[in-house]
Symmetry: C2
Subunit: 618 residues, 2 copies
């Protein structure tokens, strides 16, 4: 959408009602204020209606995104939101998306979905139109409504179920081409967020359900962000989900004592175990700490086909499992802590005293499915055992002995137990060394506003997108995928630009440049304000004129102006008798008394200065 010609907006007729109270379901500032200021209204959980002021901001954000996409050489197309199942079946995503996908049938029982993202359709379209290396590279984009049936829609526009995305896709013959297309989009994203005045960090990311190799996220730092990211002074930055634990060298263990089981009654927790260890099995050189213990955490995966699988993750006792990191590691499966039924199905797992002895390779005594849960250990199925990468060969551990009240000491990894693999499931802590050795990590939170992927050949392969190369041979195309959450960006802008009185938009995305308040009872006030509004509009300034009659008090009008958040507030009021009008900045609140005959020039000058100060078009 775009703004049409903008006549003067008038509070008396503008379709808006401000609210003094926060909506009951709102937790974050952008959600509260966008609703209170009459920018959006909830239609259903995670689904919003755009009112005129909200739509004006959205149009301005979209315009910036569109201009920079075109400037980067991308061509705009527009796909349906309602799509047939088949292409998503071909890539496996019809099932991988699980309950996050809105699925429906048409009147002929054909299966359809509401697209969460469009890799498949873009791939098929390029396959439909193009056939030769001469056609490539090409990058296509759309700004389009997307659907995801989020389990927990939250924070208003930040995690919705119907939302606007800009998604772009690049098509290249080879890796070097993909690198170049990726770099062009990455640079366009930087220009977009620069122009929007939105602070951002580019971090390494996981690819998730997209597949592919390289991937980076653009996060805007904010304490209410859903994503946690890490940074080092040396320039490393990654979503915490993408942090790869540095693997220590293996340790020699020829001199290690044999493992020995000890009675450790009433030690179901790490703390109680460490206390008893120090009290009864103290070492001469140093105290035992949680880092000496190997904690085995039982989790349940739900695979896309609905199958539930119990797995155990072993990690040093001084770290918790980070379910988001673990979730990213096991995608497309979902993961949650194991429940009573899971334990009941695996009686070999002795709660509080689980050790490697019952797990993975050494635990798989009788790998027979289907007889679990009857209490006979000879018939239980094997449980996969996955280790934190720090548990390298030669490390010695205190861990559960698979019997109540017993732990085993000096259990040596690689000598006494092995696992089915390693997994990135342990939390990342502030102070951990960056994977690239660039110093200790600090943690912060952010909102994901953009995500760029090198998909590689996954989609082209699955859907048969090949073109003839220079030698006349069919070659599979390599792709990139680049997304910006447009409605989420708007929410992020509101998060970054507000105070306790309301929104405070940067000029280039504000729904209007100036809120003009007629604050007085005399007709002369309204006449002067009317004239100023018309003259400002003639000069290209976007004006919302608060022309409500004088029984709406100046206080109410000022409060609404602050809530709505135009960068400049012009007040025609008592000063008019002395020939002056007040011009206030929404941010900072500095007020200037300007002679009424100069006010149009003054406001035009200030709007132009604000626009000039904003980062320009590429």
């Amino acid at each position: 959408m775009s703004l049409g010609r903008t006549p003067v907006l008038r509070m008396s007729t503008l379709f808006v009602r401000t609210l003094r109270e926060d909506p009951a379901d709102a937790e974050v500032a952008s959600h509260k204020l966008l609703v209170r200021a009459g920018y959006i209204r909830r239609a259903a959980p995670g689904i919003y209606t755009w009112l005129p002021l909200g739509l004006r901001v959205l149009a301005k954000v979209e315009a910036v995104v569109r201009e920079e996409m075109v400037a980067a050489g991308a061509q705009e197309v527009h796909f349906p939101a309602l799509l047939p199942r088949e292409p998503y079946e071909a890539t496996g995503r019809w099932s991988e998306y699980g309950p996050n996908l809105f699925r429906l049938q048409d009147r002929k029982q054909g299966d359809y979905l509401l697209a969460p993202t469009h890799e498949e359709m873009f791939t098929l379209l390029v396959k439909d139109l193009y056939s030769s290396y001469k056609d490539l590279p090409t990058t296509l984009f759309q700004i389009q409504t997307k659907y995801r049936d989020e389990a927990r829609p939250r924070a208003g526009l930040i995690r919705g179920r119907e939302f606007v995305m800009k998604d772009a896709y690049s098509f290249d013959m080879d890796d070097a081409g993909l690198d170049a297309s990726y770099a062009a989009q990455r640079a366009a994203y930087q220009r977009i967020f620069d122009r929007l005045g939105l602070e951002y960090v580019v971090v390494a990311a996981t690819s998730g359900a997209m597949g592919g190799s390289r991937s980076e996220e653009f996060l805007t730092p904010t304490p209410i962000g859903e994503d946690t990211f890490v940074r080092s002074a040396g320039g490393y930055a990654a979503n915490v989900e993408a942090v790869v634990t540095p693997v220590p060298d293996a340790l020699p263990y020829d001199d290690a004592p044999a493992a020995h089981v000890e009675d450790t009654p009433d030690t179901p927790t790490i703390d109680s175990l460490v206390a008893i260890a120090n009290e009864r099995f103290g070492r001469p050189d140093r105290l035992w700490t949680a880092a000496d213990t190997l904690k085995n955490v039982v989790l349940a995966l739900t695979h896309p086909d609905g199958r539930r699988e119990v797995v155990v993750v072993g990690l040093p006792g001084d770290r918790e499992v980070d379910l988001k990191r673990l979730g990213a590691a096991v995608e497309p499966a979902d993961v949650e802590p194991a429940g009573d039924a899971d334990f009941a199905a695996h009686p070999e797992l002795v709660k509080g005293y689980i050790g490697p002895g019952s797990l993975g390779p050494q635990g798989a005594q009788v790998p027979v499915d289907g007889a679990a849960g009857d209490g006979d250990p000879a018939t239980v199925s094997a449980v996969r055992y996955l280790l934190d990468p720090r548990v390298v060969e030669g490390t010695r551990w205190i861990t559960g002995a698979d019997a109540p009240g017993k732990h085993v000491f000096d259990l040596v990894a690689g000598r006494d137990f092995t696992a089915d693999g390693t997994i990135e499931a342990a939390e990342v802590k502030a102070g951990d060394e960056a994977p690239d050795g660039s110093g200790p990590l600090e943690l912060a939170r952010g909102i994901e506003i953009g995500h760029i992927f090198q998909l590689g050949r996954k989609y082209a392969q699955a859907l048969g997108l090949t073109v003839l190369d220079v030698n006349g041979k069919q070659q599979v195309v390599t792709m990139g995928s680049y997304g910006i959450g447009v409605t989420r960006v708007l929410a992020a802008l509101a998060e970054a630009n507000h105070d306790d009185k309301g929104l405070a938009w940067p000029v280039h995305v504000a729904p209007h440049h100036v809120q003009l308040v007629a604050a007085g009872r005399d007709a002369s006030v309204f006449e002067a304000a009317e004239r100023i509004a018309a003259e400002l509009a003639d000069r290209g300034v976007e004006v919302l004129y608060d022309d409500r009659p004088s029984k709406v008090s100046p206080g109410v009008k000022f409060a609404d102006a602050e809530l709505l958040g135009a960068p400049l507030v012009v007040v025609v009021g008592r000063g008019l008798a002395d020939g002056v009008v007040e011009v206030r900045s929404r941010v900072g609140g500095d007020a200037e008394q300007v002679p009424v005959d100069d006010v149009v020039d003054a406001v035009v000058g200030r709007v132009e200065a604000l626009l000039a100060a904003a980062p320009g078009r590429s």
Copy 2:
């Protein structure tokens, strides 16, 4: 969507492929040509993807619609497409829409729909924000993607399942206010279609599933239109579905002879019956004609709740049942000719010899449900009997006698039979008198491009939209609903602007003003064309430069330029050696040789002249 800055488009990189063959599923010119010219691609039945050139045209059409809505005082909002069931349940449309509605469930088994139109949501939004007569009138609009699960999507964009609509809704306190809001939208529609250069007729229409009273359609006349409309020389115009049959005066029948049953063997058709009547039962004064016979047509309704009902429509034998008129009359039920199972369920209906005797009031001997179809006439259920309005009291008919080979003569309406009601089911014929007496009707076909409704209080009542009136009393608001099929308008423009070579867009909606063809082998040709393209773009002309290398023949390039349909084609070719470039009009084909140094000025002048000739903004 809107056009961003437009750099020179280049055929070598533009995401387009023209096709020489019509797509197999295309029947109408707009569908064939929009696909062949690479404007759209089918994603699923009735669901299309927009390629860059199509999207550019769509953006221009949308811009005209948006500008005129804003000029008419309407405010833009934007609703979700995915909506909860409840509001549509409250108005009955959740079920009334039947299989035309895409329904789905979210992960919590909540019922949702993809909105076919948004009366409910606009009503609720105004209820949410407004509470007083002082807030009204207001008119809101959106340009938004809509969904209807059409039984037979056809003609490309003309009847799709996902399409773009502009829908507007007015809210007023009283009928006079609604009249004014309706008039404002009607005038805006006229300006929109005038600016788009689209011929249109405003015709009286039925309200259909919308409900409400007054309603008019904007139809663009074309032989491929799905709608039939009528016009009289005296100014009457209506969709054929909305034509109300003038009801003749009742006739005296005191002197009419008694009805008499005659043997009429082998007369299953009207023609055979008329022939036998004249041969064996001839009248002295004139011949029997089909208009003397009362034809009883058996039809099956499917109600929104799935119930199937057999009804019989009685009409003069010289007219056919018009299923579209009948369909409009029985909405929200669907109607189709009765099938064998329907006849089997009603053995009292003697195929070919059905008369009023077995129908409606006089046929309902034993109104017992559930025992139909066993052949015992004492247990059949009553069949509703609906009459054409021409069958007034006193009219005499030859009609079936409910026995094979028998007809009844001189059967007098009102004396010998009555019906359950009248129905507008008979076809309208050219030459029929207009309902308002303004002369005989002529018939034509058209595409519905706009539809405006006076909804009245139906939705406000159902959803509780009241505001305080001047006296502080709650009053139900009255509403109007105003739709334009934006994607359908684009198709209608293509229908109206093409020839056998391709599309031929009016300048104000063309994807680009000029297609510039480099037609030659010399580098000088490409250098000159490159320079002209850049200079035209600098002057604000939208240029698609066919820069494909010379192995793409001039013939192919010319054919593509004609297929794509820009209003001007500039050819840099052999003439360049003599210092001239050719400027051609797409329509008319007149070609002018212009000195190469003058060509930019000449083309700018012609584009400006074309734009100036188009109807301007309001």
